[in-house]
């Protein structure tokens, strides 16, 4: 079993006793060396991370944004309950999602035949489940104000609520960019779900967060720090890019 690899690795190396750690500067230097030498192992880990989290954001967006828009527009009995439930699901613990997907995909589970467990596909599925409620809840919030403004005008044009959904998604596109960012941040930063369903297999399902956890417990701090820096840089760069896009667009669109 692939999960055992991680457990065995940890057991073999043993965690560094916290009191003996003294090599901060050397580790940092080594980390930068790793970063700028383009270490293929590290690049592979970064690539898997991006592939998994971006796929999860894309799938989550396809499901979550329309759901959020429908909730912003529709008025039906029980809507409040759905909204409260979605807001609660935003705080879903990743390990719980990991466990759920693990049970679904394990050989004896209902979706065991798919053979997805310990593949990037399983990690994408778990992260999608994790962030879809976040995307739906935040987009509902973002689009509700827009709907209040638009409702009468759209009704006057003869556009029903169903036709209003794509209109809101398009007209709210800049606010939704921030929503997508929140989803990406959550997906890229979580460890629990990808660890459980991906198994942290070297060169296959190892991502930045699981690698950092592993290398830290093994005592390979340069790699852990290097990966941590890359993770932070990616999240920062993505946020800066989105903020810049939003600013430019807002200046243009008024």
């Amino acid at each position: 079993m692939a999960t055992c690899i991680w457990i065995a690795d940890t057991a073999a190396a043993g965690p560094e006793p916290p009191g003996r750690y003294t090599g901060g500067v050397q580790d940092l230097t080594a980390a930068f060396h790793l970063l700028f030498s383009g270490d293929p192992g590290m690049l592979g880990i970064v690539a898997v991370s991006l592939r998994v989290s971006l796929s999860a954001v894309a799938l989550g967006a396809v499901l979550g944004l329309p759901l959020g828009a429908v909730l912003a527009v529709a008025r039906f009995p029980g809507r409040r309950g759905v909204v409260v439930a979605l807001n609660a699901l935003m705080g879903l613990p990743p390990v719980l999602v990991g466990l759920l997907v693990y049970l679904l995909l394990s050989r004896a589970g209902p979706l065991g035949a798919w053979g997805l467990l310990f593949t990037p596909g399983a990690m994408i599925l778990a992260q999608t489940i994790l962030i879809t409620p976040i995307l739906a809840a935040l987009s509902r919030q973002a689009l509700e104000g827009l709907w209040e403004e638009y409702a009468e005008a759209l009704a006057s044009f003869g556009a029903g609520p169903l036709r209003a959904v794509p209109t809101l998604l398009w007209d709210g596109r800049f606010a939704l960019l921030t929503v997508l960012l929140a989803g990406f941040g959550r997906a890229a930063a979580e460890v629990g779900a990808v660890m459980i369903v991906g198994g942290n297999i070297d060169g296959y399902t190892r991502v930045m967060t699981t690698a950092i956890a592993l290398e830290t417990s093994k005592g390979d701090l340069p790699l852990a720090i290097g990966l941590g820096l890359v993770l932070m840089t990616i999240v920062l760069a993505v946020n800066a890019l989105a903020q810049w896009l939003r600013d430019v667009a807002q200046r243009r669109m008024g």
Partner: protein, 237 residues
């Protein structure tokens, strides 16, 4: 366009209650093709609610609204006191309701150009609509409604937040739309504006029709003392 005429509109015993309070009661009137009808009255008289009921944005609590033809919604348009513009370009705003009505692209382009010319915003077609000035935004909202070539155009205090120059421009355009055979039904609390535009006047007070009729007669010889007081510029409460 050879859509069946939706006028005259017959309204009988129309009432609207919200939260236990009667906003409108026993409003009966007939709106026939012809010069603009202005609905006059102080704030809170129920003017906006009446327009929304007629346009179908609100459902009446009592009474009937009977158009002369079915499918009347598509033959109406409305401009709100504060223009609601989509976060898109000026041209895309004009196209939006035309796409909803299923017009072919060539016809849409023709109407967009015509609407831009009507309000004099030709140079701003590709500008984001929300970057326009307040007056230009209201002109765009007016152009967007006109592009639908409605038989009836509802205008809810379209000049309420405009300066005199912009108001004059909007009034000219309303006149041009009316001259094309579109029935204008417009609310205002500006008596002078009503004198300038109205062919017919409905005086609304506390949710009831105080007086209604041709503008010339009503303005010259009001029948009720309340109407006379209002027309003299006294404050009704």
């Amino acid at each position: 366009m050879s859509a069946p005429p939706i006028l005259p509109l017959r309204v009988s015993g129309l009432g609207f209650r919200a939260g236990g309070a009667a906003i409108l009661a026993e409003v009966s009137l007939t709106i026939a093709a012809g010069p603009p009808m202005l609905i006059l009255g102080p704030n809170g008289a129920g003017k906006s609610v009446l327009l929304r009921l007629l346009h179908g944005l609100l459902a009446p609590s009592t009474g009937h609204i009977a158009w002369a033809a079915t499918g009347a919604q598509a033959a109406q348009a409305m401009v709100f006191q504060r223009p609601v513009l989509l976060r898109r370009s000026v041209a895309a705003n004009l196209r939006y309701p035309l796409t909803l009505r299923g017009l072919p692209r060539a016809e849409q382009a023709r109407r967009v150009a015509e609407a831009l010319a009507l309000v004099g915003l030709e140079g701003l077609a590709e500008r984001p609509a929300r970057a326009l000035s307040g007056g230009e935004q209201q002109l765009l909202a007016l152009a967007r409604a006109a592009a639908c070539r409605p038989q009836v155009l509802f205008l809810d205090e379209p000049c309420a937040s405009l300066d005199p120059a912009a108001t004059r421009r909007v009034e000219e355009i309303i006149g041009a739309i009316a001259a094309r055979g579109c029935k204008i039904v417009m609310t205002t609390h500006d008596l002078a504006q009503a004198r300038r535009l109205a062919g017919e006047i409905v005086l609304l007070h506390r949710g009831r029709v105080m007086e209604a009729g041709p503008a010339a007669t009503l303005l010259a010889t009001p029948r009720t003392p309340e109407a006379a007081a209002y027309l003299r510029g006294e404050l009704l409460c």
